[in-house]
């Protein structure tokens, strides 16, 4: 059958990585539905940092890097899996880097960063948004406590559409 879509060995091809495609779309929508209180975060490029996760990075670049959040053009950065991260509006920390989360959150650069994760108990570890699986689909849970700690206001829509809200 010619139209087979499964990949071979090694990493899944980006266009077949359904989870990465959905995560990227969520991240873009999250960016539109929150506000950063810190004035410095409302100017310059809107930076989305990605640790690891090649396919998510690729998807963000392909579909969203030419967009803007408000007047801030989106800039997608692939970051090395280290505690020292660039100053980002949104930072995706995958399960493979969960050991770095605590150290990242201690960084001055991360004090206004909305950290997005995809592993269990990530909200308890300081993430603002965590991707979860519910009924074979990808959803998200959100911590308003952590959002507040990072001086981020979460819009009503993002709260209402979350699978779980920690207040």
């Amino acid at each position: 059958m010619a139209a087979i879509l499964f990949g071979g060995s090694g990493q899944r091809e980006p266009e077949k990585d359904t989870i990465a495609i959905i995560q990227a779309s969520y991240i873009y929508n999250i960016a539109k539905l929150v506000e950063w209180r810190e004035p410095a975060m409302r100017q310059g490029p809107f930076v989305i940092g990605v640790l690891g996760s090649d396919n998510l990075y690729q998807e963000l670049v392909n579909k969203y890097a030419t967009r803007s959040i408000g007047r801030q053009p989106i800039e997608v950065r692939k970051l090395p899996e280290m505690p020292e991260v660039d100053r980002c509006h949104i930072l995706f920390v995958p399960a493979s880097a969960k050991g770095l989360l605590a150290a990242i959150l201690r960084q001055e650069n991360a004090r206004s960063t909305l950290v997005v994760t995809d592993f269990p108990d990530a909200l308890a570890s300081g993430a603002v948004v965590n991707f979860i699986t519910a009924k074979n689909t990808l959803k998200y849970e959100i911590s308003l406590v952590n959002a507040n700690r990072h001086r981020i206001d979460v819009g009503l829509t993002l709260k209402q559409l979350a699978d779980k809200v920690v207040e």
Partner: protein
């Protein structure tokens, strides 16, 4: 009038009939033997209007052979009609030949012509003309069953159904917005599975068709999609992934060493957000890498 008839058959069913020369049928045969197919056609068409010749099997057998050869030489636009005439004549010749005097030549000629109809079905598939292919395939089945009503065509129907499904997939891949091709591909493979539920190709292809459709829906997510629409798209895709799973599992159980079904299951479980199962199949695939895995993938 008494006729002396003998028939010899060469590899392609060429009949040699010897008739008394004054007979209309004999003249038709003489023209046929001389290669004058148009002359033979005119004479044999006159012969069938003569009551005493119209009731004789040899008239229809000879007419069948003349039209068969005309069919083989005809341009494609006229070929179908000539073949129909040949088949109808041979059928009448076989049915009226109660002594089975000409069966040795007329029956193979009939089956030869039937096989050309199947070949036309295959050619239509190759030319991505599925509707024509179906017409030829139906006609092929009817032609065989007219002579042998209890002919079993399951294998042929399975072969044709799988090929038809592949053609619909090709047409769908050229025009992803035309879901009619997709629906027809699904129907073709389901029909194959109705005939043979253990058909590996149909199980695998149907699973892949459902899976690809689920993936394609997700691939179409763009910056214009809001969160409710993302969730809606996922639910639709989940249905396709769920539909794909049992067919891929069945194909896998039929042939556990095939990398394609292991990767298929890995992909389906991944898209169903079932990380544990996805990893299990990925691990199975990696175990294949050093032995059963196709060389080109290594």
């Amino acid at each position: 009038m008494k006729r002396t008839i003998s028939i010899a058959v060469c590899a392609f069913g060429l009949a040699v009939l010897a008739f008394a020369q004054e007979d209309l049928l004999g003249k038709a045969n003489q023209a046929y033997q001389a290669g004058d197919l148009q002359g033979a056609r005119s004479l044999v068409d006159q012969a069938i209007k003569e009551p005493h010749l119209a009731s004789a099997p040899e008239t229809w057998v000879l007419r069948g052979f003349i039209y068969k050869d005309l069919y083989r030489e005809a341009p494609s636009a006229q070929a179908g009609m000539l073949r129909d005439e040949a088949l109808a004549s041979l059928y009448k010749g076989i049915r009226t030949d109660s002594a089975r005097q000409y069966a040795e030549s007329s029956t193979p000629a009939y089956f030869y012509l039937a096989s050309t109809i199947y070949n036309d079905a295959v050619r239509s598939l190759n030319e991505l003309e599925p509707e024509a292919a179906i017409r030829f395939h139906v006609k092929y089945s009817e032609t065989l069953r007219r002579l042998v009503p209890d002919t079993v065509l399951t294998d042929r129907n399975v072969e044709f159904g799988n090929a038809l499904g592949t053609v619909y997939i090709k047409l769908f891949s050229e025009d992803r917005l035309n879901l009619a091709w997709y629906d027809k591909a699904v129907a073709a493979y389901k029909h194959v599975l109705d005939l043979d539920s253990a058909n590996y190709g149909a199980n695998y292809n149907l699973a892949t068709l459902y899976y690809n459709r689920g993936v394609y829906n997700i691939q179409r997510i763009s910056a214009d999609n809001d969160i409710p629409s993302i969730q809606q798209i996922q639910e639709v895709s989940r249905e396709f992934f769920t539909l794909a799973l049992p067919y891929m599992l069945k194909a896998h159980h039929m042939n556990p060493g095939r990398a394609e079904t292991i990767l298929g299951l890995e992909g389906i479980h991944y898209s169903l957000q079932d990380e544990e199962e996805s990893k299990r199949y990925r691990h199975l695939y990696e175990e294949l890498e050093h032995d059963e895995r196709p060389e080109k993938d290594q």
